[in-house]
Symmetry: C2
Subunit: 209 residues, 2 copies
Amino acid sequence: MVTVMPQHTRTGRPRSVAADAAILQATRAALVELGWSKLTMGDVAARAGVAKTTLYRRWTNKNEMVVDAVAVLFDELELPDRGSLLADVEGVVLQFAALLNRPEAKTALMAVVAESTRDDALRERVRSALVDRQKRLVVTGRERAQARGELPYEDDPCETSRTTDLIFDVVAGAVVHRALVSAEPVDEEWARRFTRLLVSGLGSLQDSP
Amino acid sequence: MVTVMPQHTRTGRPRSVAADAAILQATRAALVELGWSKLTMGDVAARAGVAKTTLYRRWTNKNEMVVDAVAVLFDELELPDRGSLLADVEGVVLQFAALLNRPEAKTALMAVVAESTRDDALRERVRSALVDRQKRLVVTGRERAQARGELPYEDDPCETSRTTDLIFDVVAGAVVHRALVSAEPVDEEWARRFTRLLVSGLGSLQDSP
DNA sequence: CCAGTTACGCTACGACGCGTAGCGAAAGGC
DNA sequence: GCCTTTCGCTACGCGTCGTAGCGTAACTGG
């Protein structure tokens, strides 16, 4: 969904896939060293060993390029099966926290979201490259918990979808807010507290409609 | 805590308080029309009817100025007593969502947080002007719930502090993530779902240590 | 093999915002 | 009245943006 077609438009010189990879890697390196605000297109081009014009042939601006550069980092997140819903959530929280500790991730994520509030195309790119892709973690975690009998099966797909969205925003939002806004460490103790709060909330929700 | 001293440094021409107000108001207006990335110091100065140098006498850069400009918006948040913890939380969630719907708030908040990941002074300013100031909502909500008997009293002040921080990050984080990252509306239905999840989690936490 | 098409590297350019310096004038305190 | 600080104004060097134009490289179809 993110790259729609192999845009080998049939004729002419094809785009260098090596340049694509080099540019995205150079973007992440520049984010680490310089951060978002001091990252320049010329600098990225120099690091990647390509011309600045090559960047503009692929992305319309800095924002779109950075989204693609950091999206792959979020794909590394996994949901290891630890045997219980509590342990699974705690594991993914700590993984997400580790990711947000990487300087290229934290500085880029917030900046891109900030820009996306005024850029419809960018917002859609954030949604498809980050939000929708990572909801898979919630879906699989939920299915595992249902298979274990920790959570009841839900027959209304609309209800399921809304619950998934809610959990996703609560988990990701709490971790991001703790790490970047409050600027406090997401350590094991915090992860344990948060996980207990969330899971006990999910467990006791079934009783009261 | 945000403005430490009445910096009337004893001698010389005093700073124009009218200019202060005009600059901050002009900053918010520019954020509405232009957003974060296209906001320029020269533009703000022109709107405020002051010289650009006057801005640099007060703030070292754009970031610091914008934090002060939007901090007052967050001070408008209140915790109206609606009779129950559930209703109180739901009320403040909707208030916060309405605030994040304002273009000057959403574009500025994320951008400033993004910059604060690489700027210690700015991070401290965000903490004192936004985070610490709004934790008051959690503290009073908790006290009210304890007075009503909805939540037990806690004697360990360290434990209380950590729980306050946790709830703050969960509430603020979930709303921000829903509104700005997922870019979905924080309507009454979502607020009700989220609030039920959080409050039932808080309620059932007492049973298991 | 050759013509057509597209990507590439390179250079140069205008436009614009940043942040600073220097000036004379204004507004307070002692 | 003298001193101190702020104010508006102008001007400046610096860096980045995003684009245009060129000759060359890579790949395709006839």
